[in-house]
């Protein structure tokens, strides 16, 4: 690495490796749930109980024993890690032969099929709610932010205060009346209820951030556009949106994440199983009495895949946006 002046941040006398060790220790513990989720998703309950920690080795052991009436009993089981190198050990003194063989079928890929069957419909519903909701949240917030940022219109101060007050107001008391409001609007048990409430709830924060951003854009751009006879909508389309791509991207990711993780409102609003979003769906899954952990973990993993895709494509936005957005808010 270059000897940038930044190297002074760490002391010259101090060694760097202890810090790395501590950071790695934190990160490994932090990643542990992820690891468990992944490795358990390939097991059935029996092999999970036999060996909860490590992934199963790709071997099976066929044990033969002779029962009291002279009949041979053949049993197949998953190999332990100790048997992979040392050869099969009989699990019982009565076992006569134990043969180890390479076998990929110990990995229950079918768990993933089950998992997808369990939560596939929920994911589809959630994608619909999150994508539609994010789109409308951002569209309306850009329009609103433009209104506040462009001119000091009469009453815009009052309206701004009305929005800002909501930032300080705790929303917890709202949930009970919100339920009866949605009931009166005949929106209970619909996905549109989630979308519309989500869009309303996202306005204040997004308008707040976007207004600051649009006000920092060069004024000449707007004046030039106005000279050319551009309407306000044209100015938004041709000046605001191209200039604020990164902030809109970050806000969209935050909005999407929020809607993806939401479970309280869906829990109250949705009744039919066909309409369940991921939040309620997972709660429903958690309530099942007999649990096949492998299938459930596979389902959990599948629930994360859309976020993994977003993460892979917008990692920079993710990391930078989270730190930058936080400073402003």
């Amino acid at each position: 690495m270059s000897t940038a002046p930044k190297d002074f941040v760490g002391s010259h006398k101090q060694k760097d490796w202890p810090k790395h060790i501590v950071i790695w220790a934190f990160i490994i513990i932090e990643m542990f749930p992820l690891y468990m989720m992944f490795q358990v998703s390939f097991k059935d309950n029996a092999s999970f109980l036999r060996n909860p920690w490590a992934p199963t080795p790709p071997y099976t052991v066929v044990e033969t024993r002779v029962a009291a009436d002279g009949e041979a009993i053949v049993k197949t089981r998953v190999a332990d890690w100790s048997e992979v190198f040392a050869g099969a050990k009989p699990s019982d003194p009565s076992v006569q032969t134990a043969v180890k063989s390479f076998d990929l079928s110990v990995y229950k890929f079918r768990n993933w099929g089950f998992g997808l069957g369990l939560i596939g419909p929920y994911i589809a519903n959630t994608v619909f709610v999150a994508v539609t909701g994010t789109f409308f949240t951002l569209t309306l917030a850009i329009l609103g932010a433009y209104f506040f940022a462009r001119y000091k219109m009469p009453f815009s101060g009052v309206l701004w205060a009305a929005f800002l007050v909501l930032m300080l107001m705790p929303g917890v008391a709202n949930i009970v009346p919100l339920f009866s409001l949605l009931k009166d609007m005949n929106l209970l048990n619909t996905l549109w209820a989630l979308i519309i409430v989500g869009v309303a709830g996202g306005q204040v924060f997004n308008i707040f951030v976007l207004r600051n951003f649009i006000e920092d854009l060069p004024k000449d751009l707007f004046e030039a556009a106005e000279m050319d006879g551009a309407s306000h909508l044209a100015q938004i389309r041709n000046v605001v949106i191209p200039m604020s791509g990164s902030i809109i991207g970050t806000l969209s990711i935050l909005a999407f994440l929020g809607k993806w993780n939401d479970f309280l409102l869906p829990l109250i609003v949705l009744r039919d199983k066909e309409l369940f979003t991921l939040g309620v769906g997972l709660i429903y899954l958690d309530g099942e009495y007999v649990k096949q952990w492998g299938q459930i973990m596979a389902a959990y993993f599948i629930a994360s895949i859309p976020l993994i895709v977003i993460f892979l494509f917008c990692m920079k936005l993710f990391v930078r946006g989270l730190s930058a957005g936080a400073v402003k808010g």
Binding site: P52, K152, P170, V172, S180
Partner: protein
């Protein structure tokens, strides 16, 4: 700032108001109206239907004598103290990453921190619920394996807690006395990616010459943290402190999912928000739930006010 505009020009630009109308309409319908409705209905005996009866302050009188409600405020205060403690690992992590010399490693660590965020928070919660399982759970396995359980049983014998037993698995979520400890352990090692990134962005504003000067004066690593790094991230720490206190006070999703709608064994995990939810959607007493919501609302609003007025950190 926005352009000042003359009255004539504003009249010509009246169409601009159309831009704010949709957002305003939504906010009025789904934020202001429910808030007003909550105040209104807290004076009624109302079970969610069309019939309601004005009972004045009876809901509030009932709330004053409601032991569960005040117990839940105590619980939530304890949880706030827990959460304050849980802020420390994130600060340590941010300072450590900041002090790593190589820029490349700093970036790698940042990315690694964000990776767990791809797991939906609900899934993280359910994985923890699975960790807490008495028989299959990872937590009990780890405690058995490392011998910490023997230590816990010994300490139980010493202090007479009556929660850890030699030959029974630890029932983290089923023992009333273990519910608060479980809520504390939850999320170990308590590193919030967002928090660490916020602190890191604060730390990055420290100039190299400050460190150089400290180096020349022979300031040790701990003093460096105390006198250089901590003061500079105090603004960010304060921000997350405020968000955390308000978030803990009104949050109840964690308790609802981990412990159920009655706050777990013995109701030890009951928090005010959950009590409101329980009264509305389990007991069907919407009017009383609105009153509980109002009381919580006043608490939070008061805290926000005090915070904005008095807790100022000079930059």
């Amino acid at each position: 700032m926005a352009f000042p505009i003359s009255r004539q020009k504003a009249l010509r630009e009246w169409k601009l108001y159309f831009l704010i109308v949709p957002a305003l309409l939504l906010v009025c319908t789904f934020s202001y109206f429910p808030a007003a409705s909550a105040i209104y209905h807290s004076f009624f005996d109302w079970s969610g239907g069309d019939t309601k009866q004005l009972i004045g302050l009876d809901n509030f009188k009932r709330a004053l004598g409601d032991d569960v409600l005040w117990g839940s405020f105590i619980t939530v205060s304890i949880l706030i103290v827990f959460n304050l403690f849980k802020m420390i690992p994130s600060i340590i992590m941010a300072v450590l990453i900041h002090r790593v010399k190589s820029d490349r490693w700093q970036y790698i660590y940042r990315v690694m921190l964000v990776v767990p965020m791809i797991v939906p928070s609900l899934v993280t919660l359910f994985i923890w619920k699975f960790f807490f399982d008495p028989n299959l759970g990872v937590l009990n396995n780890v405690l058995d394996f490392t011998g910490i359980k023997t230590l816990l049983v010994w300490m139980d014998g010493l202090f007479g807690w009556g929660v850890f037993f030699e030959n029974a698995p630890i029932g983290w979520l089923s023992q009333p006395d273990l519910i608060l400890p479980s809520l504390f352990i939850w999320g170990f090692p308590w590193i919030g990616a967002v928090g660490v990134l916020i602190y890191l962005s604060g730390l990055q504003s420290i100039g190299a010459e400050v460190y150089e000067a400290a180096e020349l004066d022979g300031v040790g690593p701990f003093k460096k943290f105390l006198y250089i790094e901590l003061p500079l991230i105090l603004t960010q720490v304060r921000l997350s402190l405020v968000l955390l206190i308000i978030g803990t006070l009104q949050g109840f999703g964690l308790q609802l999912l981990l412990l159920g709608e009655s706050g777990g064994a013995g109701g030890r995990g009951m928090v005010p928000g959950l009590w409101m939810y329980n009264k509305a959607f389990v007991a069907g007493e919407f009017g009383y739930a609105c009153a509980v919501g109002m009381i919580l609302f006043v608490f939070i609003l008061g805290l926000t006010f005090i915070n904005n007025k008095y807790v100022r950190v000079e930059k």
